[in-house]
């Protein structure tokens, strides 16, 4: 899922002119699961906005299935019409879709979108995928070195790995290459690590405008 967290209220307030009519819109998909921008968080943010010193004419809240999908955006049209400012609690993709769809309205982000990752336990999410466009998980024991190694090395681990931890945060951060080493050990495939991995083709990554997927086979004339 896409993991995000909420911006500090102070930062959100700075985006909102006094006496404006606000509409907070949540998203029921990824950001609901990571407890950042779902129905519940919409309610909390609305209550906060009603309590702060800065006064707003109106504060409404709602949530839709997926803000990154046009199909669901129209259902909030009546509420949007009434509002001056839309506060999107979706990920960056959702905020942008909302902004495109209601291009006459000011749409502001309530979240900082962080990464594609997983939930590791109560209140703990971790990045798992960079979306680099060139997956090599088959040779790294299902652990992504570009994401899990602080330097994104393909021929790691570097000299900063100690007791299985990364020197960048030795208390809390596991060395990605140590994880890969242990996994490949377990799989009896350590010899893979001896092979020199060539430089990555970063042209497949985010390196030249937004990447696009065009599927001729599913295009509709």
């Amino acid at each position: 899922m896409i993991v995000a967290n909420q911006k500090p209220v102070k930062e959100i307030l700075e985006m909102l002119p006094e006496n404006s009519k606000l509409l907070v819109v949540g998203c029921d998909t990824c950001v609901t699961v990571c407890l950042a921008g779902g129905e519940k968080e919409v309610k909390v943010l609305c209550s906060t906005l009603k309590m702060v010193e800065k006064k707003f004419k109106e504060v409404n809240g709602t949530s839709i299935e997926r803000q990154c999908d046009k199909e669901f955006l129209n259902e909030v049209a009546p509420l949007v019409q009434e509002a001056d400012i839309i506060i999107s609690m979706a990920c960056g993709a959702g905020v942008q879709m909302m902004s495109d769809y209601y291009s006459g309205k000011v749409v502001v982000p309530a979240l900082n979108t962080l990464f594609m990752g997983s939930n590791e336990g109560a209140g703990y999410w971790i990045e798992r995928c960079l979306g680099c466009g060139d997956c090599i998980l088959n040779i790294t024991g299902g652990i992504c070195p570009r994401t899990r190694c602080s330097k994104g090395l393909l021929n790691g681990p570097c000299g900063g790995s100690q007791d299985g931890k990364c020197e960048v945060d030795p208390e809390n951060l596991e060395c990605g290459w140590n994880l890969i080493y242990n996994r490949l050990s377990e799989l009896g495939k350590l010899d893979i690590m001896s092979e020199i991995r060539p430089p990555q083709d970063w042209s497949k990554s985010h390196d030249g405008g937004p990447r696009r997927v065009i599927r001729e086979d599913v295009k509709v004339e």
């Binding site: 030795p170 991995r197 430089p199």
Partner: protein, 316 residues
Amino acid sequence: MSEKTKSKLEKLFAKGEFVVTAELGPPKSIDMGVLDKKIEALKGVIDAANVTDNQTAIVRISSIGTGLYAKNAGIDPIIQMTCRDRNRLAIQADLLGAYLNGIQNVVCLTGDHQTFGNHPGAKSVYDIDSVQLIRIVKDMRDKGIFQCGDEIKNSKKAEILPPKFFIGGASNPFVEPFNWRVVRLEKKVNAGVDFIQTQCIYDMDRFSEFMKEVVDRGLHEKVKILAGVTPIKSVGMAKYMKNNVAGVIVPDKIINRVEKAEDAKAEGIKICVEQIQQFKETKGVAGVHIMAIEWEQVVKDIVEAAGLYPRPKGEK
């Protein structure tokens, strides 16, 4: 083995000399007084000096700029090149520029993470890693090609003029997973590294184990290994290294020795000299890399006491 480069270092290794290198950290400003002192302390005492590349991710004069300055002052520079600040275009361009100006040696490193330095908000590059960088420099030298495969020449009919660098790398025998360290060294050897400088060594037992494995795999015949040492100045420093520097193991017996000594500095130097004596007897060790950080004036004492002074002349 025919010589691959015009590097003095390569010649010394080829002659079987026990090579001595040191570290020369560039200053933060163009006030060169401090560097001049370091150069004065190292000149004639060592065979070549590593000029660090934004070490610990703190901005300093570039390794190539400082390397040229040192060269003019009579020190053979080994420029360090990290993957943190430059992509493959910038690295190859800088290497050509360095070679144009007579720099013969390069050490290929991944680079300290930017969060350790004075620009923690910087975007790191890591387009390539140290193993890939070694391969790139080797291909530039031996195949006359850039990473993309293009030949290093100005036009179709022009001559290929490859930068002929003597290629170095680093190895840390003291980090997890230990079993992996020699394999990673072998990977660098396979990528084309000519010499290796190790992380500073205090745990001689572990280093011996590492070297035994190196010799068992025959790697010492393919790569020249310089054992890294850092003389200890004080108990505080020894404890700091033990507890705060990732990838350094300081055994308690070393700390105890410095603690009990009347003169901690002298004891630190003595330990260092004893280590070098041991390295001279260790199969597969081809020299020593002395990292006397901000304490360059003791390098001469160490080299002398270790019986490595005067240094051989490298005929050009």
